[in-house]
Point group: D2
Chain length 344, copies 4
Amino acid sequence: MDFASDNVFGVHPRILEALVTANAGTAVSYGADDWTKRAEQRLGEVFERDVSAFLVVTGTAANALALSAMVPPYGALLCHAEAHIMVDECGAPELFTGGAKLIGLDEPGGKITAKSIERTLDGFVRAEHDPKPAAISITQASEMGTVYALAEIEAISELARRRGLRLHMDGARFANALVSLAVTPAEATWKAGVDAMSFGATKNGAMALEAVVFFDQALAEDFQYRRMRAGQLLSKGRFLGAQMLAYLDGDLWLDNARHANAMAQRLAKGVAASTRARLVLPAEANEVFAVIPDALHDELAAAGVVFHQWPGTDHAGPGEFLARFVASYLTSPEDVDRLIELLG
Amino acid sequence: MDFASDNVFGVHPRILEALVTANAGTAVSYGADDWTKRAEQRLGEVFERDVSAFLVVTGTAANALALSAMVPPYGALLCHAEAHIMVDECGAPELFTGGAKLIGLDEPGGKITAKSIERTLDGFVRAEHDPKPAAISITQASEMGTVYALAEIEAISELARRRGLRLHMDGARFANALVSLAVTPAEATWKAGVDAMSFGATKNGAMALEAVVFFDQALAEDFQYRRMRAGQLLSKGRFLGAQMLAYLDGDLWLDNARHANAMAQRLAKGVAASTRARLVLPAEANEVFAVIPDALHDELAAAGVVFHQWPGTDHAGPGEFLARFVASYLTSPEDVDRLIELLG
Amino acid sequence: MDFASDNVFGVHPRILEALVTANAGTAVSYGADDWTKRAEQRLGEVFERDVSAFLVVTGTAANALALSAMVPPYGALLCHAEAHIMVDECGAPELFTGGAKLIGLDEPGGKITAKSIERTLDGFVRAEHDPKPAAISITQASEMGTVYALAEIEAISELARRRGLRLHMDGARFANALVSLAVTPAEATWKAGVDAMSFGATKNGAMALEAVVFFDQALAEDFQYRRMRAGQLLSKGRFLGAQMLAYLDGDLWLDNARHANAMAQRLAKGVAASTRARLVLPAEANEVFAVIPDALHDELAAAGVVFHQWPGTDHAGPGEFLARFVASYLTSPEDVDRLIELLG
Amino acid sequence: MDFASDNVFGVHPRILEALVTANAGTAVSYGADDWTKRAEQRLGEVFERDVSAFLVVTGTAANALALSAMVPPYGALLCHAEAHIMVDECGAPELFTGGAKLIGLDEPGGKITAKSIERTLDGFVRAEHDPKPAAISITQASEMGTVYALAEIEAISELARRRGLRLHMDGARFANALVSLAVTPAEATWKAGVDAMSFGATKNGAMALEAVVFFDQALAEDFQYRRMRAGQLLSKGRFLGAQMLAYLDGDLWLDNARHANAMAQRLAKGVAASTRARLVLPAEANEVFAVIPDALHDELAAAGVVFHQWPGTDHAGPGEFLARFVASYLTSPEDVDRLIELLG
């Protein structure tokens, strides 16, 4: 019963099969192959507009590279204090931007708001002694399993435009957010004012695949140089393209996300009904955060439940801790129900 | 008939099969899985000593990251003027080292010599106005299909030690060099004084896999941070580990390289006997560089031969050009013979 | 009546005179001149031990360069949330370290504590997904005009040693702190566990002069390269050396600081006795922070008082604001008394 | 008799006097003072157009910062193989650009030509595997004491425009070139197609002063952030402004350069007439490069002549070496004549 992360699960069979199929024959290297071209085109179809899309291997690379096209070295980027780019990527954004300053806003629920962003921007009163505010990054779904409503994104993008900032979306779990919102990819992104995004696939069934998608294509100028010098241009690029094609084909990505979200909601209901655990945030995507008693830690481990004790002490009182359970496209209802049973 | 590069070919069936096998069940993410651990250990066995090995996705990342552990931002790195790190990686070494200076030595045959390195070092007379010489990088096999003899490497490493420099080997085609030299991996590297290497697998049958191998393990301290912030730590790391295990298992890597080299030699013999083409360098690994008349360019293309016209004008006279033909583990003797026939 | 900053005042006559004297004749360039050598040696005498000292032009350069020798690109540096390096240097530390992460601890009074540092370090639980904690920087005197007691520094340095971190001191106003503490330079720094410092002179009477002083001389290895590539090695270096010699000669630096501190304390007493203003922090060096009513803002301006309204809303209630008044070596008692009178 | 460099001489009395005068009273810090504003304005008058000018402290900083606004991190900059930015700045351009690649063209006489630049650009055939060609830098006067004719600059700028590159001029010895060409500052720069320059003053009589001057003011957007984070924004900025005003006032800069050039030409004539030394290049500015016999080395030293033995072996045969003699605004005809006598 592995609830540690969605990335502990393997590759969806249809994606694996696509890799095997793509293996036949020779193909032009370094991303000039047909699979890659079609994948980039398919992303445009998915988003219902021309986009500039670049396939890369990890979410950290996708985020840091996207930001490097949006924030100058002397710029500041505003994000949540617990954003992946802030606390999980070992300074990759700083490396790829050439030293930009990430400013983390500490707000409950894993989401930042136009209000707190504006308050922070109003504090930039030191002229060039401050870095230049350049972009905002939101994580959709957030690190805490919550999902930005379209109105929340629009409020942020309206502020961004008004202040001359760019808006980036870390979509490592974009599919989960999308099915949660029940809107189109276009509505969830550029129609709400997002300029560029990291479009995640790895956590949702791919092997190693993310795309940097630019809705504002002016930002994509020269991006191929950035990807190359970051060591993210695969020589056998067809294996990224093939993954993406299979991921999008027949809405596999949405089906996978729907299943994961459903499992998380099933678990959340169980937690809500539990006598020993309690939800701290609504499970709007595929993650469930629950406060549970310390005693339960060993019980769960003994029963073979793998999960993460989450850093931070905001939610848990003495004698208890915050646990994160992540559901994936492969998580079974049986496993969820056994976990609920264990939680009492 | 694709002789454009060894990376236009797909994945060896045994490696692809390993990916499929590794897909079962869940696995700890971010390189803490069993496949990765075993792969790192296997590399130690291959090199007959303790090594610190780190799996990454591209050769550019392997090189640039390895160098970032060997050359400070204010340092200088000496390499061949046509080295991959110098002309094919869009400044990745500069990015990952934080701006170190690459100094390219222009020598015939794709190989640098202790003599030219020493002469260059003797030119560092400007104290801190010059960058600090910190490391040397050699490419084995070289970009021109030649192979450093052990004595040549030892002469360079002796100089490196004497001058306080580190020695890096770009082994994107290490297997091809190794079977050409007919020595052990240990003899070809650390026993000859190499401190760290990029151990290539992609060009020789893997999907997307290189390893940074540190023989001087002190250099590996903190390297996990460097890999992480470069966006090269895969969440589903098992798929790198599984590739590496299959690549090394049963000496697949050596068999693949032997075949590729044999095909290149078969072609080289054909070129040597040709009336219209001529060899410019010995084909010591899996690449053949031949000067051919301009007229032949279209003939070859019409016959379906894919290859690269190589930049630079050192070897070709008027009315002719330098062509590069690369053999791979999948190149067939029939294709080679047809190419020979076309070359006349 | 200029209380805006200590850097709005000019150069002390003895330092200016030293520049004129040093102008005679020719001198070896790039810091190899006698003035520079003697200045570096004098710093060793001042600190009663061998030090490695490097003269530079600005405090930002001193800080960022010193940190670049203490924090790797993948490292984390802990400092106060309002430290100069955090909010006043436009990302210079990020530039010179190659992208290290600055982590600001938000504590009252402008000083960080061993306790909050340790709590922060305990939050580094994500292995290489976190940057590697590498150093701590304290500002002495702090940005809020407070001064670290030796015991506070020792508690931090003990923690730093125990956790394998380096300790840096931003001493832009070191002289002010030193005379406030009434200890020796040695006691205030390396004897309390400081590894390296930025030794400020500009704010205290020099024209443009700071020194990076390494007590742990191992950190200074290669530092001359860092200074050079930062554009901080003056060709006519004698004019930095001459400033430093005059600054230290006859304890000018301490006399200047004593005067500035005395003026600040005179003002602080006036504020304490005022009916309209109130002190928010003890004036331990040469800065006075006072909360004053909004109405007073225009009154002061009309009377020719120049000062800064300080960012942040921690101390001031509605209808009032936080004002910073800085005293310098040239601030007159008359000006202070007039300001006190205006404050009512 | 110091011919080592123009920077071994001190500050011109009128500039020193300006520093003393500027010392009176308080002044707004960080470059918002009147001296700085007037200096920036004066530079516009000198160049007969609106410019964006930024005062900094060293030529290395001026060059590297200017380039950082013209070359992206993934870009390539073409310059002479012996340019100051290439071999004398310890990688400062790499630091400030974030890792751009400098490509040195090895041409005789210290000057690059449109022809060799175009040939180099034509070699960029590897798409994003190459860095993106972004700018060209020429040094005026060159490191070898030669001066680009206007037609040479125009040929380069025409090529730059045609290829979408920017043109930078390293004008550490701009005044010397200008009086040599006998044209206006405008004609020598933007009218010939220069986009931005490093306008040197230190070598020609200032204490520590250079200006980055943007003729294409779009390049200057955000430059204040770059200068700040480089640690080049002086708190007591008036002392840079005052230097520049005195430097330009009454054409002091041109008078200084005229004298230095005249001394160099006097020496060059002496060398031409000498039996033991020979000129290798025309002395078009204030530097004289002469090949002299090894035996003369000690004779000159014994007579108190300070000079540099120049690296490189292009010009000198066995038993002789290349010597560089630099004349300054303070070099006396008597010293020159004594040197000529010694050269025989």
